[in-house]
Symmetry: C2
Subunit: 227 residues, 2 copies
DNA sequence: CGCGTTATCTACCATGCGGTAGATTCTACG
DNA sequence: CGTAGAATCTACCGCATGGTAGATAACGCG
């Protein structure tokens, strides 16, 4: 259900047994949190999916909260790595150094497209970000920071897209547009997860960007999934 | 914390004791679900806020699920009534029969504005709609229907707004635009609930509508709250 | 006022929870 | 191959949960 046990790539880090188990736990946790949210998933649930006892799980994580934030931060790292690799790949292909500002928007759309095809992560973020709204939630601060970071990054991308559009876009505020495109992506995912036929997330996002004066038609949408 | 006990309006239905208790329970439930979501609120929590025992609560509702959907459907009824009253009031004022299509969009914006001022309902819908994403959730079907209804209603409003705009808007699909404006409202609320200073929901919504070619400047935004 | 109905309480149940303690099995390295 | 240390298990704790049973208290109508 998660990953095969012996899929070790040629030799470099032989990955001790404990590390493998830890990974298995984190994979299971990510799946289950996506399926049913944080609060209603028990440590025993996660442990069972990882073929372990819940006491065994607690050998690796100090508690349920620890498991959650560890998993989320790990997701972030993978996301950032994937984005950087994508940028490097593009730069190599075009013999030109692309930046985050250049590819941020197309990356966002690519992520949504990936979610729409292999629907694992969308429910995770939909459920968790809503739960984490409560200040006492263990992931509250994580999500505040995540959204702040996302807005910052996309503000840069938006400004860049405005500047390089043909004709250049002058009437819109990149800060507001960044928050708006994030909101749109989130809201679309809610409707889509509730009823996948009700809405075409990618088309809607691209339409929105075109409305802003940005032309996404030439984008090579990042096709690979996120991690 | 909820309503005062003797706020009975002049006489018509003297409201039996049981009915009053039932109302008190529903009010408490709505508050708590908004504060902490459905799953993590216990019947004892709700009962305590309603100054009753959890067993006493179960005299009125057959179970936790029953309580949830009863409360949500009740909210819907109040929402619809408030909308109709708003329409009638406008029609009386202008001596002209307004319809839902005429006021739908301004109503939506008014609701968001109300949420932004008195932040009770926004967290409720943010948390519940995310939880209800899971098909086994007791409110899953409720939310599917709610969103479908919302899209239908706003599609009409959108078409009307496009037609009556100056100049009339031709390039946009009312169906897609309806889903988009709902998504935008939802997504903005997530960011706003997480960090109220991060985003101006009303300004963002109005900006979006203007971008569509709709001019909301003349709207008399519905100022009163919803329930 | 009397009394049936309704509302509410106390007490209980089985279940599942997060977390801990300590015994036991397995791993991997010298 | 032996053994220290890591990994994992069994067993338990206290607590909260949703729900039930039945006794008791309050209401409100005749």
């Amino acid at each position: 259900m998660t990953t095969t046990m012996d899929g070790d790539r040629s030799g470099v880090p032989p990955l001790t047994k404990g590390e493998r188990t830890r990974r298995r736990i984190m994979d299971s946790a990510l799946e289950l949190f996506g399926e049913r949210g944080y609060t209603s998933v028990s440590l025993r649930d996660v442990a069972a999916r990882a073929a372990i006892t819940h006491a065994g799980l607690l050998h690796y994580f100090s508690g349920k909260d620890d498991l959650l934030i560890t998993v989320m931060i790990d997701r972030d790292k993978q996301e950032i790595i994937a984005l950087q690799e994508h940028i490097e790949q593009l730069s190599r292909r075009d013999g030109r150094p692309w930046t985050v500002d250049d590819v941020g928007l197309s990356w966002l759309v690519g992520q949504i497209a990936a979610n729409q095809r292999r629907p694992d992560l969308a429910p995770l973020y939909v459920k968790l970000s809503a739960e984490a709204t409560e200040p006492s939630h263990p992931a509250h601060n994580y999500f505040r920071k995540r959204y702040a970071r996302l807005r910052r990054t996309l503000t840069g991308s938006m400004a860049r897209a405005f500047a390089t559009a043909d004709p250049p876009v002058t009437g819109h505020d990149p800060v507001a547009a960044a928050a708006q495109v994030i909101a749109l992506a989130d809201g679309l995912q809610i409707q889509w997860v509730l009823d996948p036929d009700s809405v075409d997330m990618v088309a809607s996002l691209l339409g929105y960007l075109r409305m802003l004066g940005i032309d996404p038609d030439g984008w090579a949408l990042a096709d690979e999934a996120a991690g």
